[in-house]
Symmetry: none
Subunit: 206 residues, 4 copies
DNA sequence: CATGAATGAGTGTTCATTCAT
DNA sequence: AATGAATGAACACTCATTCAT
């Protein structure tokens, strides 16, 4: 993957899918005609580039996730230390990702039993090398934590992953589920601090 | 809600939906004819009791969730102290709920944008009084934690809820996402202990 | 097969297909909606009884051929002797079958490479017992010819079949290909006689 | 028609169509893209030379039939006598034509109701002069038969044509319909002799 | 009450044809 | 002249819902 140079029609399709998902439409409800109309191209054109609807949507999602994660990775590379990194991730979620509920939707799409979900899981297993996923970001974090000595290496790795993933997921969900946007706005900074502290404590038994 | 006395056809429909969901079929993929065939009743009969497909499925799910949560509540009533309670919940997940991925599916259904999800959210807002939901169980836990002094009352309540909910969700997801069942079996006890400890630490600033 | 009691919708579909074919529409051009509209039923209804379009059409054709051939068989049973029988068949063709080009279309459908053709061939191989086909009529004729001593039994059976089948086919084709109906009308009686005589000669070397 | 000098792209298209038909694909199933891909030219190019798909295919078929029939005519010119000629035709069918089922397919294409069939019939009526067709070969045969005295001139010409055409068609069909190639191989010589004799008898009342 | 046969609106996909390059 | 990317009309098939029995 990586940025590469997508054919213009493909990139129009990807953008269309991204927008539709951002508009809170159920993924399974999206019609091929919705996508192509929004992309400003003919319906048949989509089938010049993709085998079927599932391919179109799953490719768009993978591309989008890959972009977000690559961007995040780059940011992380410029930072030093686990606390800074986790803070940066939460910060970035505030800025763009969660605005669109992307992370949550990604979780859905992976844990679902829908056809698209099945394809996504296959593709992720198949060519993970090229695609940058949330999982890679968590691994990066863990590496930084172990290097910096904030993660007790005697803890099972699955526990560590769970602790980090659950905090990120929940922070993502916090946005979409919370009802009073103003109240939430005020609490947010405190929340992030609490989350970072709680994470540090939970990964360090001592 | 509560047990009440459901008409026999309704209860057959609820059971059918429960079974179909347990069979790992995508909810969107479930057909009315699947449900009625499995329930052993005529297709038209379903429409004597429900307005449409979404009503059938969302009612069945709500009923199911209500049952599980009521059962859990009863168990919690017989216990004393936050740690015992959270332990009991994790234990129960081991025994039945997670086996079927129910909790996770419930999360999906609430955070989705599918028609069923929308109806579920509406109904939960509308008549929450009668229905017992996971949220109520978390509130019960928090109450117990505050009474027992293990929760620092100066922390924002949304943070507390998040910490608890995220641990439960992730423990649920751990099952469905993990691949080697044997390995996971061995770790499980350690994991539960780590989770309880981590939770206690994170809710107590001191 | 045999007459049986077809569900009324099925028989409506069969009649519709028969009419459409009789109207000289290319079989591959027939749309499901043409059939159901003509049958006066909903499009979905066709799919209650048949798996797909090919099934609908091939079943209708088989049914139709079976009816014609059964009728013919009954007529032949009341006759005695090869020449009478072959005369009767040509006569019947004059009366109804060829009017509709059915026999010719049957030949097409069997020697084609179209999807419907493939299904027809399969079905004929699969359950020939129940279905009465032109081939059975030819066999009946041959039997009568051998019994009556007009067929030289030393001739290869494939040759005998070919001689009979080719005469019947060509007589059928004569109708549809000929252009001046009046002229043909006048010749017809002479033609039939010539055909019968020629057949008798060709099957008897002596 | 005749050999002329076809533009190279046109001749590539004709060859491609010929090959595809020889591969036992249903004519209706042939896509323009199949043809142009096989011809090694761009899809748009086909439309530089032909108005539409039907034109491409029907022109290719006519060209092909014309070639075969012209070749046959040339062979017949070098022979003398009806029996020799009919024998030569059957021989040639053994060698090449029938190998590809061409004659049979031609019959189909003329008696069909497909769009291609309609165009073919129109074209044949329209400019028959230039195109050499099976019908011309039969006329040639009849001429030779009458000249040689083996055809009773009091018989209606339509009968004579039918007798000859039906024998040729059936011999062609014999190949494609027969199942055991070896058995058929052995019978073939006898068959041809029987056919010639039967033809001679049937055209000579005396 | 209960049924399931009948329905037809709605959708994914194909492919002949066009046209800017 | 040659191309092939783009198009959208057309069609098979599904399934939620109805209603006569």
């Amino acid at each position: 993957m990586a940025g590469k140079h997508l054919p213009s029609k493909v990139s129009a399709l990807y953008t269309a899918v991204e927008e539709l998902i951002a508009e809170d439409i159920d993924i399974k409800e999206i019609k091929v005609s919705d996508i192509t109309r929004r992309a400003g191209i003919g319906k048949g054109t989509a089938y010049e580039y993709f085998k079927n609807k599932e391919e179109i949507i799953s490719s768009a999602i993978l591309y989008h996730i890959d972009s977000i994660c690559r961007g995040m990775m780059k940011e992380l590379d410029s930072l030093d230390g686990f606390p800074q990194m986790i803070g940066c991730i939460l910060e970035t979620m505030d800025e763009k990702m969660v605005k669109r509920g992307c992370l949550l939707k990604y979780i859905h799409l992976l844990t679902d039993n829908s056809p698209i979900s099945k394809i996504l899981r296959q593709r992720i297993k198949g060519r993970k090398g090229n695609i940058c996923l949330p999982h890679d970001i968590i691994q990066r974090l863990i590496q930084a934590g172990e290097d910096g000595g904030v993660i007790d290496q005697s803890l099972p790795s699955s526990y560590i992953e769970m602790e980090i993933a659950s905090r990120l997921m929940t922070y993502a969900a916090y946005y979409t589920l919370q009802v009073n946007p103003e109240e939430q706005e005020a609490e947010r900074e405190q929340l992030k601090e609490l989350i970072v502290n709680s994470l540090l404590k939970s990964m360090n038994i001592r």
